[in-house]
Amino acid sequence: MLNSLLVVALVAIIAWLGAAIGLGSLFGVVLPYVAIVVFLGGVVWRMVWWAKSPVPFAIPTTGGQEKSLDFIKQAQWDCPDTTLGVVKRMFLEVFLFRSLFRNVNAEIKQDDPVNGGPRLIYYSSKWLWVFALLFHYCFFIVFFRHFRFFVDPVPGCVSFMEMIDGFLQIGAPRFYLTGGLLLVAVLFLIGRRLVNPRVRYISLTQDYFPLFLILGIVVSGIAMRYFLKTDITQVKAFVMGLVHFNPISADGIDPIFFVHVCLVSTLLIYFPFSKLTHMAGIFFSPTRNLPCNTRRVRHVNPWNPPKDFLTYPEYEDLYREAMAGANLPLDKPLEAETKQKSGE
């Protein structure tokens, strides 16, 4: 945990110092280009690596009643049997975190009055779901809002999103709700890893690292906007330069900007080589993205080995006498076999 925090702090400090001694173009120009290339290339490479292995078996987790008899109601969302149904299931999974929504917390009560002894009780536990949703959606909206810097003129949808996001109308510059919520959500996710003993036990350095990285990104972003009040027109001119592959001088931009950019670049570079690929991976998950119609439609395994089993004739050869004794029908009658033997 501390390691991750240190690494993130180090990245931020290097960026700050670098910008301060005039290496702004390194952190503001070269790094972002590299990061985007690595990110895009890396994610594609990861998806290709997955796709190179076949899906030998159709193993959807049936999350409810299968489609069978017409008077039995199918769980259409959780046990879909058509492609459209699977799309719906995936939609719920990707946009609403359907499986996480099921989460419950199991606790044992030693002396339950009903059971007259121990009893496991399940408490609804939607916090993880709430904060995970909050985190991902706020992250997305904040990301989306940044298009104000990448596109000129600012697209209507971006301005609209900004308007909604800033509906509280407090502060100048106007306070964006999602920025604040994102900070809260990240802190929850970090806090949960530290406080919940089970999650703490399973957490690895690479679980804290992206959280701290994102924390750094959010904090530097918020600092830039609300506290240091970085000159936005200058930043936009600089970013537009990047977008048009015509970088302009970074002189005069607050170093915090480079810290922000550097942290984002680190996240992008780290992304394809880490668990963050779950964003793309979920679409590949065979327990979710296949229809539950496995008895109706045959799924083909490209490496299906040839059949190798004890065939009926071999079986009969093994047990012919016993079978005859039990008056079981035989393909090759016993007499024939004995005759054959005696003839030899």
């Binding site: 193993i59 069978s68 002894g117 089970r198 690895l204 668990k275 008895r295 799924h299 089993f309």
Partner: protein, 544 residues
């Protein structure tokens, strides 16, 4: 068998999490924590790699010289074959949503029984070889090398997972630890590590066709005896067609139903039901095991054992196969069979119920229908005369077995049937049934005596839920449609909810079934007195 602690003690003495990080702790192989290893001859008979004698409690497991290379190569091979494996290795975010969803974790509080850590055991090895940072940073980011202890650890925890898929339901990416467990078991088999209680049945199924290795004539004899019992109880002797050609339907059920109490009552139920329907069917001694023990070993072994079903349907010229009540049998049939051994032989056609005309379109390709579907359809069309009051001594609940629930979605068909054949039915708490069901805690080859305490631990969630309805509603019977359950749940119920008995669905159907030409029924299939016996019943008792 060591004496079991009381339920209170068992819950109270679950140890706290160790102080060390999980990469530092190692499992202790004390008696009761592991199942007995497979015998050398068994492994040889099945042509498994590196058959050898070994003892899990010993330091040296007698692995082949180059075991590390074998395992690394096998792992690479599985990554190439299974996208699921690559994906599940890559995208787990360690959110912990799956942690307390596993009955083994709940019962043992062993952190490595959290599905996420069970998978991390393999993922840590993956990290070393398949991620850049893993090679450089090693343990700091949870990467490690293969060593003897790691192999032991993989073995330990791969056999404390029943492949029930409960974790996969709750994981936001659908990561299925059952799939990982299955692959780890495959890897371990590459160096000759397997369980006696799995490999022995596999060998038997492979040869004799049933898991106890009962020869064809004894098999027939047992079935005839059960038919005699049916005659005593009902007054009509059911037909017992074996290996006969030219019938419309081939019926295959788990062989446990033929041999073991209380499964035999379910088998008698099949016989009585089919006889009453005058079903055009045959049994087979060759394909007499529906349950697929191979699926606890490797995908190829599952394929091998499963192949007999279509082979026999082809030989006998059956149009479709009706399948009995079994969990892992149906996981394989529903999600693997067609892929393994399809397309179906040309003589087979889309199943149609001969009585209701219902076309089982959902089984159009596999051509196998579950008996609960078949029965529900019959009842829906009023084809069965039922007197549920004959089951009035029973207050029932329904245990969704893990495989039909999460690998098939068979949830409401058996409930529909059950509600028509019994008058008293109560559900267990909602987080313990349907797709969220807890498994019996001893599936996937773990129902051995030597790990009884572990089984009671993993059975705790199911046991607690059962006890709850027992205490609250007086439930005294838990029905299920799984042969492994019928073997594992009785000790579980005796321990967690003494007084509750276990049965299959069709046993209850046959109890309630009013047959043509039956004599006055005085006992149920278990030869226990029927309820309401003293009350004078009107002639020609009307079913519902």
């Amino acid at each position: 068998m060591a004496k079991l602690p009381t339920p209170q003690e068992l819950v109270a003495n679950r140890p706290a999490f160790p102080a060390e990080a999980w990469l530092e702790t190692k499992p202790k192989f004390v008696p009761g924590s592991y199942c007995y290893p497979a015998k050398k001859e068994t492994m040889e008979a099945l042509h498994m790699p590196h058959p050898h004698e070994w003892d899990p409690a010993a330091d040296d497991w007698q692995l082949p010289e180059n075991w590390e290379k074998i395992l690394c190569d096998a792992f690479e091979d599985r990554l190439k074959k299974h996208r699921s494996l690559k994906l599940f290795m890559d995208i787990c975010v360690r959110c912990g949503a799956c942690a307390d969803k596993c009955q083994f974790f709940l019962g043992t509080n062993d952190p490595k029984n959290m599905p996420v850590l069970r998978a991390e055991l393999l993922r840590s090895l993956y990290r070393r070889d398949y991620s850049m940072l893993g090679k450089i940073l090693g343990k700091k980011i949870g990467a490690r090398s293969w060593d003897y202890q790691t192999v032991k650890e993989l073995f330990f925890y791969a056999y404390q997972c029943t492949e029930c898929r409960r974790c996969s339901l709750f994981c936001p990416y659908g990561i299925d630890t059952a799939e990982i467990t299955a692959i780890v078991r495959e890897l371990l088999h590459e160096v000759g590590l397997g369980l006696h209680w799995i490999m022995d049945p596999v060998k038997n199924c492979s040869y004799t066709g049933n898991h106890l290795g009962i020869k064809p004539h004894s098999y027939v004899e047992i079935v005839e005896m059960l038919a005699d019992d049916c005659e005593d109880i009902v007054g009509v002797r059911p037909k017992t067609p074996f290996n006969e050609r030219g019938h419309e339907i081939l019926f295959i059920c788990p062989s446990g139903d033929v041999f073991a109490d209380p499964g035999i009552y379910t088998f008698m139920g099949y016989l009585i039901l089919f006889n009453e329907l005058d079903l055009d069917y045959t049994l087979s001694t060759y394909a007499s095991e529906g349950g697929n023990f191979g699926s606890f070993v490797s995908f190829n072994m599952a394929k091998k054992l499963n192949a007999k079903m279509y082979e026999e349907a082809q030989r006998l010229g059956c149009k479709w196969i009706l399948g009995g009540e079994c969990g892992h049998m149906w996981r394989v049939i529903n999600q693997y069979m067609d892929t393994y051994n399809g397309p179906t032989p040309s003589n087979m056609t889309t199943p149609v119920s001969p009585y209701t005309g219902t076309v089982f379109k959902n089984a159009a390709s596999t051509k196998m229908v579950h008996i609960a579907e078949f029965e529900a359809d019959l009842i829906r069309h009023n084809k069965l005369k039922l007197d549920p009051s004959r089951n009035d001594d029973l207050i029932c609940t329904w245990h969704d077995s893990c495989n039909p629930a999460r690998g098939m979605g068979l949830l409401d068909e058996p409930r529909y049937v059950l509600k028509h054949v019994v008058n008293h039915f109560y559900e267990m708490p909602e987080n313990t049934i349907r797709e969220q069901t807890f498994c019996c805690g001893a599936g996937s080859g773990l129902n051995t005596e030597e790990i009884m305490e572990l089984r009671m631990r993993s059975g705790m969630p199911r046991g607690n839920a059962l006890r709850y309805v027992q205490q609250k509603y007086g439930v005294n019977r838990m029905a299920c449609c799984c042969a492994i359950d019928r073997a594992t749940l009785p000790p579980l119920a005796d321990y967690w909810a003494p007084g509750v008995t276990i049965s299959g669905l069709t046993e209850l159907v046959a109890n309630a079934l009013v047959c043509k030409g039956e004599h006055k029924r005085t006992v149920n299939l278990r030869q226990e007195d029927l309820p309401h016996l003293d009350e004078e019943e009107p002639e020609g008792n009307e079913g519902e």
